[in-house]
Symmetry: C2
Subunit: 154 residues, 2 copies
DNA sequence: TAATTGAGGACTATTCTAGTCCTATTTAAC
DNA sequence: GTTAAATAGGACTAGAATAGTCCTCAATTA
């Protein structure tokens, strides 16, 4: 399974909650009780999102966190990279240092295609999308997806 | 970063090597020295791929492993799920047990959209694609990608 | 029957992740 | 001005997951 860390999952939950009233400033404490996630953990996540400029913060009494942009402009890709760094499936796709395998390394570049596809997918979904209830959309939307990566070669 | 385990990465390297002469039967030992991956590790990976029916095996002297299908028919998705189980980003997307968060769980279904998109991306790339040298394709192919997940809602 | 090779599983060490906690800094309200 | 309410930033710990190794059994061929 391709894994996303729990923290990232929590982050999306927290942000989705914030997106419901997207201009409101909320204290870490408030977010913790609203989402059921422990305060220190929420705090840690908020700091990461702050560094990535997904959130803005106000210190002091009555301070708290708020979304830095409209929910429609916050992509899932940006949330993931805030918590986990660059989006890529393999080590080699990130670090430029050549890998040590004796052969098979021509493959590396091709991972890039896959990474890019996944990145595009995550870039196309925003926080605003996450709050919309799921409808009977599954059969329809699958057919609309069009990813001609492989077909480029043929 | 969305992570794929090292074993999965190795698996793709091994399979790509095998795909170059796709009907040949190769011993684990041979694959280990060809790829530079330690024999016990190669062995472990081959067993997983065998269970997932990506490979077929022959026991005994002159035995070894071979691809169960043509490289064009072995998708990256099938390789990943052979080594890591079902492809999904979050725990909840796999296990049906309701999550314990106090709120925010309407989100779950929406992860499904993202998971499906990624799955489709991985399904569209095969072993055969991985062996083709990377060309000056980046500018062109990015524009061809079309993932209207978000647009479905608008 | 001996040599070669896979099958299956147990086991260990290390790395990574999740989660907690402490102290300093900033701001608002009284 | 002082106190209380918040964030900022980092250090730290326990637990889980991963990578990797090893051992014994089964099957096939020469």
């Amino acid at each position: 399974m391709i894994r996303l860390s729990k923290l990232t999952d929590y982050a999306v939950v927290i942000l989705s909650f914030m997106a419901r009233d997207s201009t409101k400033v909320r204290a870490a404490m408030e977010l913790a009780s609203a989402t059921g996630i422990a305060l220190p953990t929420v705090s840690k996540i908020l700091k990461l999102l702050l560094n990535a400029k997904v959130l803005i913060s106000t210190r002091g009494a009555k301070g708290g966190y708020a979304l830095a942009k409209a929910p429609e402009k916050i992509t899932i890709a940006s949330v993931i990279s805030a918590l986990e760094g660059p989006i890529a499936l393999t080590e080699c796709s990130i670090s430029q240092q050549g890998c040590e395998q004796a052969s098979g390394c021509e493959i590396r570049g091709n991972w890039g295609l896959i990474n890019q596809t996944i990145h595009n997918a995550l870039e196309s979904v925003t926080l605003a999308d996450m709050n919309i209830p799921v409808r009977a959309q599954n059969s329809a939307w699958q057919n609309e997806i069009l990813i001609p990566v492989a077909s480029l070669y043929r």
